[in-house]
């Protein structure tokens, strides 16, 4: 019966199609990475060749590391991403627990209220967000970004986590209550460890958009001390447009951290998407 669906010709065509698109997907990334290690002459003469002893050069990276404050930018991005994720997960899990565990008046309404933000992008409110940050003196601080990303991540986090928390057994929680555990202990000690896979999914979903965002860093924290890596590389590349070595090296340096994150978390990410967490 299975034969009908597996003939070798079909399989060959499938591989050909997938290989073609994989090449299309990876080509620009590879071209940038490869050329960032070449001399200026070689970049233009043989853009598709690998660097050899003659054409190998790190001059672009030297310019980048001398001129741009990439370590600072990297650190800022890291702080913003990690702290925002922490708050999204902590606050999101707490709210999800309240919604899935307790019956109180307005429960459904609160759930709907928190779910509004899944479809409505937070960028729509940017004018007033900038106002708010100016009034509270948070402009050009990393806190402005952390607050925005936390608010942005919460709706989906609450939605996904409360779905998972409904599946945690009631017997377990009630046993804890009989043993005299407080509701807080039940949440932190019993429930949180059980929904760890769902937390990882939420974290991975939020991580990449936060790391890559250009809009809010540009508007809320464009100062030199608070530039994120995405904004920093944008500004840097804009200034060095004619220095191809520097531009290619800056692009490669910006690609690298995301690529590493992806290699580390890709299994989690793909499992998260394919497990239907966002249905």
């Amino acid at each position: 019966m299975h034969k009908a669906r597996h003939n070798p010709l079909n399989s060959l065509a499938a591989h050909a199609a997938l290989l073609t698109w994989t090449a299309v997907a990876l080509f620009p990334v590879v071209v940038i990475l490869v050329n960032s290690f070449k001399t200026r002459k070689a970049i233009f003469r043989e853009p598709l060749a690998l660097p050899d002893a003659d054409s190998f050069s790190l001059v672009g990276y030297q310019t980048v590391l001398k001129q741009g404050d990439f370590f600072l930018y990297f650190q800022n991005s890291m702080i913003v991403t990690v702290v925002s994720l922490f708050f999204v997960l902590l606050f999101g899990a707490m709210a999800a627990f309240a919604l899935s565990e307790y019956r109180f008046r307005g429960n459904t309404l609160m759930g709907l209220y928190l779910a509004l933000g899944i479809m409505i992008p937070i960028r729509i409110g940017t004018v007033a967000i900038l106002d708010l940050m100016v009034q509270t003196g948070l402009v050009n601080t990393l806190w402005a970004l952390i607050l925005v990303y936390t608010a942005q991540g919460l709706p989906l986090a609450v939605f996904i986590l409360s779905e998972f928390m409904r599946q945690v057994s009631d017997d377990l929680k009630n046993a804890g209550r009989i043993d005299g555990l407080s509701e807080y202990t039940i949440f932190f000690r019993l429930v949180l460890p059980l929904v760890r896979p769902a937390m990882a999914t939420v974290a991975v979903f939020n991580m990449i958009p936060i790391w890559n965002d250009l809009w809010f860093p540009l508007i809320l924290a464009p100062g030199e001390a608070t530039k994120t890596l995405t904004l920093g590389s944008q500004v840097f590349i804009g200034q060095f447009v004619t220095d191809w070595n520097a531009v290619l090296s800056a692009l490669s340096l910006a690609i690298l951290p995301v690529l590493i994150l992806y290699v580390v978390f890709s299994r989690q990410l793909i499992r998260g998407i394919t497990s239907g967490a966002v249905k």
Binding site: M1, T22, V24, L132, A151, I219, L251
Partner: protein
């Protein structure tokens, strides 16, 4: 249970509700409200819907607005026409039960999706640049050099080129979602089809496609919302002026220039709010169409 204090419910809910309300919902409503004011000599003056009249009707503004809106619809149209079909085809091939290296293909094809718009914008700008010559020399290798043009620099083709770059970047998302939906179709249904002689592409069209329609609905609305608040790629590749001659201007870049100001143009938070309100209305309309017209009519199959 009734005797137990309920403060813990409040404690659990408070942080999320406070941050979400203060940083997302309140500014959202405040933005809608600001659209009804204008800057007078002594602070804010209430002007009702005058800003919208200006935006839609005053020649100084309306040209730019309708241009951005039209471009935005074209941007969305290209995504629906190119990104989602390619995503579906890739997912259909990947979900082939005995395909080797499926995980490898999947991970590789998803890589552009994780890159930032800054990287994507500049990388393609360099590759398509006539100065570097990668694109022309590759076309030359297949004898099509005459087809090359500085696509990003021409008014007629810049927007479509950027839309295709965005398609290149995000094709991984529909691919993954459809792939997940295809995997969840039980083997028995496909086997039942085979017994009736439905195999290969016929099985895809007549059995699988109807079953994954809900997922296609979801990727359509995700694409819609994503496209109508897009900004980063255009800004990274063409700058805030969305050149050449505003031919790649979409609502996001128009909003940015208007409320934040750019070069000689001063920022105007009230007109900016009016544009944001228009974006809000468009996105809301799209979401409503999805929720009421598409989702409720679509049959869901439980396995």
């Amino acid at each position: 249970m009734a005797t137990r204090s309920r403060t813990h419910v409040v404690v659990f809910l408070a942080p999320a509700v406070l941050v979400y309300t203060a940083v997302m919902i309140w500014p959202l409503f405040n933005t809608l409200r600001l659209a009804l004011y204008t800057a007078g000599e002594e602070g804010r003056v209430f002007v009702g819907l005058a800003n919208f009249a200006t935006l839609f009707g005053d020649p100084r503004w309306s040209g730019a607005f309708w241009n951005a809106l039209g471009n935005n619809f074209w941007f969305f149209f290209i995504h629906m026409l190119v990104q989602n079909p390619i995503g579906i085809v890739l997912a259909a091939i990947l979900s082939h039960p005995r395909l080797r290296f499926a995980a490898l293909y999947r991970s590789a094809i998803f890589i552009p999706t994780i890159l930032s718009f800054v990287i994507v914008g500049f990388a393609w700008k360099l590759i398509l640049s006539p100065i570097w010559g990668i694109a022309p020399s590759m076309l030359d290798a297949v004898g099509l050099k005459s087809l090359f043009a500085p696509w990003l620099g021409r008014e007629g083709s810049a927007l479509t080129t950027l839309a295709l770059i965005s398609v290149w970047q995000f094709v991984g998302i529909p691919m993954m979602l459809i792939y997940a939906a295809l995997l969840s179709i039980p083997e028995e249904i496909l086997e039942a089809g085979e017994i009736d002689g439905i195999t290969g592409w016929a099985a895809f069209w007549r059995i699988k496609l109807p079953l994954i329609l809900p997922s296609i609905g979801i990727i359509s609305i995700l694409t819609f919302v994503g496209n109508f608040n897009a900004f980063d790629l255009i800004y990274a590749a063409q700058g805030a002026l969305a050149g050449p001659d505003f031919s790649t201007d979409i609502l996001g870049t128009f909003l940015y220039r208007t409320f934040f100001g750019f070069q000689l143009q001063l920022g105007d938070p009230h007109m900016g709010s009016a544009i944001a309100t228009a974006m809000f209305a468009i996105i809301l309309a799209g979401v409503c169409v999805y929720l009421f017209a598409i989702q409720t009519r679509m049959r869901r199959y439980q396995f």
